[in-house]
Amino acid sequence: MSWWERVFRRRTLNDELSEELNGHIEEKIEQLMRLENLSHAEARQAVLRAFGNPGLIATRSREVWQWPRLESFLADLRLALRRLRKSPGFALIVLLTLAIGIGANTAVFSVVNSVLLKPLPYPESDRLVSLWLQAPGAGIADFSEGLLMSPSMDLAFSEHNRSFQSMGIWSQRIANVTGLAQPEQVQSILVSDGVLQTLQISPLLGRWFSQQDQDPRGAKTIILSYGYWQRRFAGDRTVIGRSIQVDSQAREIVGVMPRGLRVVDHDFDVFIPLAPDRTNLDGPPFGFYGIGRLKPGVTIAQADADISNLLPLWMSLWPQGHYFAIWRITPTFRPLKKQVIGQVGSVLWVVMATVGLVMLLASMNVANLLLVRADSRHQELSIRASLGAGRARIARELLTESLLLGLLGGAFSIVVSYGGLRLLKSLGPAELPRLSEVALDYRSLLFTLLLSVFSALLFGSLPAIKHAYARASDALSRSTRTMSSSRTRNRSRNVLVVAQVAMALVLLISSALMIRTFLALRAVNPGFSDPAHVQTLRTAIPTSMVPDATMVTHIENDLTDRIAAIPDVAAVGFAAAMPLDGIDADWNQFQVEGKTYDVTRPQMYLFDYVSPGYFSALGIRLVAGRDFNWTDNYGLRHKVIVSESFARETWGSAANAIGKHAHESNRNPWDEVIGVVADVHQHGVDEKAPAIIYWPVLMYIPYIEKPTLGAERGVTFVIRTRRAGTETFLSQVRQAVNAINPNLPIAGVRTMQEVYSQSLARQSFTLVMLGIAGSMALALGIIGIYGVIAYAIVQRTREIGIRMALGAPRSGVKWMFVRSALTLAGAGIAIGLLAAAGLVQLMKTILFGIRPLDPVTFTAVPVILVAAAAFASYLPAARAAAVNPVDALKTE
């Protein structure tokens, strides 16, 4: 018999064996009747006595073919399945609880796995480092992340370092592609020589950039992303060698990158060579992300030391390079993965811990249900134990049932987690890096399996241990009808309820803290007003399209006027950077007339370049003085506007600031302060509003000795209108843009409200997750308390009857049960408070405007839980008190 037959021919085997044994018995009977002259009945009796148990013989013979352990496991499984079918309500509740619990955990684990655990999708990605520097001497307090690289640094480092196999710098830029169907803005990434070599992703078609491509006077080339290639060229393989117009510059397509490639978590449409001009380089600008691939075996500390040694060399190469000595630049390279993950790690771990707690809670509810169920089988199990069933056998049977529940729940949970991940991806929280990589992979499924088995063992072991170790005689005598239930029987359930209350408390406190954080953030005045009625969009005028700076400003001015003429537009303006969009227009020194400055400790301020009308369009209050006008711009009148905090700090009050003078450095003429505006939380409401210096959009570039005009070419328009976000309004804006120049692209079309909400995405994501977990925990806790009290009442109906027959008042009976529930809740709350005090420290980085040990939260939440416990126990207690003592004593 083959393995196959062994499994599937079990019935035949059994039938054959019993036929064979019956034949044997018959033959023996006949022989006895023949030899000893017995009647058939007598002979049969004698034979059976000698033969022993035919069933047992058949079993032993069968076992030759079987794995007996598996066989008894299958029998247990069948029994468990049958029992589940007989109580569909129980099965449904348990499976639903488990499916949701395990599913939520799998979904979150998939995110944690894809975002935090999996290596970045580049070959040998552990050798990739992000090249950040620190410049404590530069005086840029808000540069908490560090100093970015400059092209000159890249050249100096990549040519002289000994630690990197390759390195390069890159930055993102919006580029205008024209000459195809419609002008469009594309996400371009400027890359220096070495970036593609560092990422080590081979092109799908064509080639990487070569050194010739990085020559500013050489051929102009471009590489497409897979997505852009599909979108614009429908995957045409002959695209290599063709030219497209990028920022009015013809560029030859030399390659197409493979699908799914992202550069350090940024999507892109095209790669453009950075092509730095070596003859015209200076120390700055520090605006490029550095990336490097370490040589095998080189540590980050070694690379840091290596580059530290190259910094003097870098400074000696540029005319004013030695100025940067006071910046005290030091490399603080970090693994690229750390750069990509950023702040989200702590949020994800909080969420993971949260759903893990919910899973524990759910397991406890299931354990509770199983305990009740096993109790109802108490008599049966005791009888089996007294007939000789071993502890292990009984425990195994109970565990098999739990395992079945766990695995079924796990199977259903895959649907839940798949749905959850789909939902998450469609929501696409901007703060979550590597979202495109999130998927249910084999690791997630393995996690589901492990969690199913683990939770099954967790909730299954309680009833298993309890019943396997129950003394048989004790059990049999205990559940007689004349006794009310003993204390020990309820102890495990009480422990569960205490633990549940404790965990619910922790989750509720976390979500309450998050709600308070969110409210605190909402309460912060961002500096601008009524964001729902502000439309924002970006556009850019490249040098190749309009070389003259004044002309650029004229075009932007025209566009502003045309938009202002659209019906219902209250105000319009534009700026190089607007609040919360993640762009810093510039940083530089700003020195006030009459003050002396320590040149070794330069103080840097955030700059922005704004058009007339920008402040009123965003609703930024003018505290003193006046706004810019176009005459200030075209007349190059050296006017400046400062934020309120800067004015107060420097001149004592906003009004005092008007008419005062300041400039970037001694090289520059004095600028007159003409206005003071309210502070704006440029970097998010959770950060302090920085001091901001606002400049006109057209002015002399302060860094260049020879007077050179500069205009803001990439700007964000802000339009105040009650029609913000509507399609008709946007098409009117597009018409206005087209009327100026059909080649001007429009991008980043959002209302200020969307920008604002997105800036709170991290907090709102955490809030939603904790909120869901907290309410689930509360519900599970209430159900747990209700279940325990209701069950205790059923068990003690007789006792209640006796009490009431002896004259106990109904309120006393009610109070008795509510009191026991409150005792349990109280114990849970005490434990939970201790646990919460420790765990909320994990949330420190997410909280805002509130301490982790917020007294209000730590008082209110326990009160809510006590109320919930009282409510959950009052319902069954009231029912118990309504029992007629005569009926109660008659039960059973």
Binding site: L17, E27, G52, R60, S61, W65
Partner: protein
Amino acid sequence: MQTSEDKSRDLFPGALEMMILESLRRQPAHGYALVQHIQQRSNNLLQVEEGSLYPALQRLLKAKLVKSEWTTSPSTSRRVRVYEITKAGLRHLEREVSRFERMLEGIQMVLGPARSTQNS
């Protein structure tokens, strides 16, 4: 019951299988006939228990040392399962018997002199 259990315990492991194979080598038989045969051949010294016989037969079947076939017994006209030794069974039997003989020889050599010294 007690005695028969003792008896079967006295048989060393593999003895029952060896006797079954030997009986089947002489002639194919069904379970009942095997019990009868072994009992007669041993002059009623050995009583094979059905409780051991049938599991042993299944073990031999599983090891492909015997094969079985359902036929109708000519004497009782009952459907019976007749067992027959296979080639592998014959080889196994030969090996087991020679091993048993060597073992018996060894046991006798150990026991023999002891008995003689006791006697003298």
